[in-house]
Symmetry: C2
Subunit: 306 residues, 2 copies
Amino acid sequence: MSLLTVGTMAFDSIETPFGGVDKVVGGACTYISWAASYFIDKINLVSIVGSDFPDDELDALKKRGVDLSGLEIKQDGKTFFWAGKYHYNMISRDTLTTDLNVLDDFNPVLPQHFKSSDFVMLGNLTPDIQDQVLNQLSSADRSFVALDTMNFWMDIAMDKLLEVIRKVDVLIINDEEARQLSGEYSLVNAAKKIHTLGPKYLIIKKGEHGAMLFNESKVFFAPGLPLAEVKDPTGAGDTFAGGFMGYLAKTEDTSFENMKRALIYGSTMASFCVQEFGIENLKKINQDKIDKRVKAFSNLVKFDIP
Amino acid sequence: MSLLTVGTMAFDSIETPFGGVDKVVGGACTYISWAASYFIDKINLVSIVGSDFPDDELDALKKRGVDLSGLEIKQDGKTFFWAGKYHYNMISRDTLTTDLNVLDDFNPVLPQHFKSSDFVMLGNLTPDIQDQVLNQLSSADRSFVALDTMNFWMDIAMDKLLEVIRKVDVLIINDEEARQLSGEYSLVNAAKKIHTLGPKYLIIKKGEHGAMLFNESKVFFAPGLPLAEVKDPTGAGDTFAGGFMGYLAKTEDTSFENMKRALIYGSTMASFCVQEFGIENLKKINQDKIDKRVKAFSNLVKFDIP
């Protein structure tokens, strides 16, 4: 099955209390695609970069089975740049710089052979652009669509966001965003409200505290894997989404039971992501490492009541 | 098997963004004993109250199998009083009033038949008093001892605290306390350091985010149960500890595998606690409700990787 991934590609400068990196490759679409590439080899990428984006990074994606025919390379433009500084808790962060650059002109046009993608992962972007993508899908009724967004769009474009959310199958947001979107503090009540907005499935990410999957009355919880060292949380949410959707596309099964497994695989990929800066660790892993870590997740929560 | 519970008994005035109560019965020893009473009927309580503590509350504990011969009732004194106000997140809180009252003279003397208790739960108190209790145990080498403490004692009595911690089997603290005690931000590294301080087992409570059990290289995670309504987090940690130790005492099994189950039972009891103010809900539950909720915990995290 094919997975369409749409989102930013970027340069990130990241500072944490424990170190930092300058202008490394990042962006939602990059993380999503790398993570998904460990599950499927038909990834249809839609994004935009400037002429400064490194060729070898694009080649590396191609080698992972990523189809770049939906990538716009603006020869006279510079790639989106973000700089941020994490607080001591490695969750909250201050944005130091946001240079939209080419992202300002992002007007995604799907190549014909992308329009029938079976699975679609819409990374965090303006709801307008997310809707533009959905409207180009020939198979909008049949594609299984997941969407990520953020509180910023709830602040300035709530109506459009609600319009887009209504069309997707899975909404993937964090706990604070779920609270803002629903106006409910309890995540259980937030999930109930969000279901009425359209999405049949809701994933609430809680950073190091794990992620929850809601589907009407059902709920599943995937813990965060306790790690000795977290170097850089950047992209963890996107990596989670890429692993989640990659696993669903690979297994061609969107039942709740299988989505639970997808949540574990997503969490597994995110746990690798945070152990190095940027996408560094996502380049180094392999199936054996993934399998072992999924086993660690299983052991972490396994108990038997006689 | 018998469980010795040592800690405060109190009146609490509690304010939350969603309501409040005035001068309800609380205190670590009260919560611990109520929670443990659903597992065992040999609870040896050691605490102190004033003449203002309600007789019917003491009678209710007696009916649950709590032996009150270690409770000092100071006829000329008033019971410890605490008033606090929770923030919107229902985790952080401001203490508005702390009237130690009789607690200022607490000098626990164990009745002879308490000294050979099989299990001991030391609620949060000055490390001096906790040590006084340990020194009175005839079976200090054989009793299985768990200890709760807080950052306040790390600030003002670290040396004494370290001396007491060295003697216990299980240390039960929250994530911030684990970080302060170890000087490590990562809970995995914090656990490693804390093991070197004495305790073979470490439980790190993360409030609504669950609890982790560490034993050398092994780790287990019990999630928090997603609840539609949390009315009052007061006493949740003590209730968790009471359920945990009550289950261990009932099953007479301190293996890591059984401790995992005890963690789930502790979390179950805590989830009941927070649904009403004070100990109200702990008085209303029964075995059937407990069993059903343990099953809900099991379903929450259960997944199968083919």
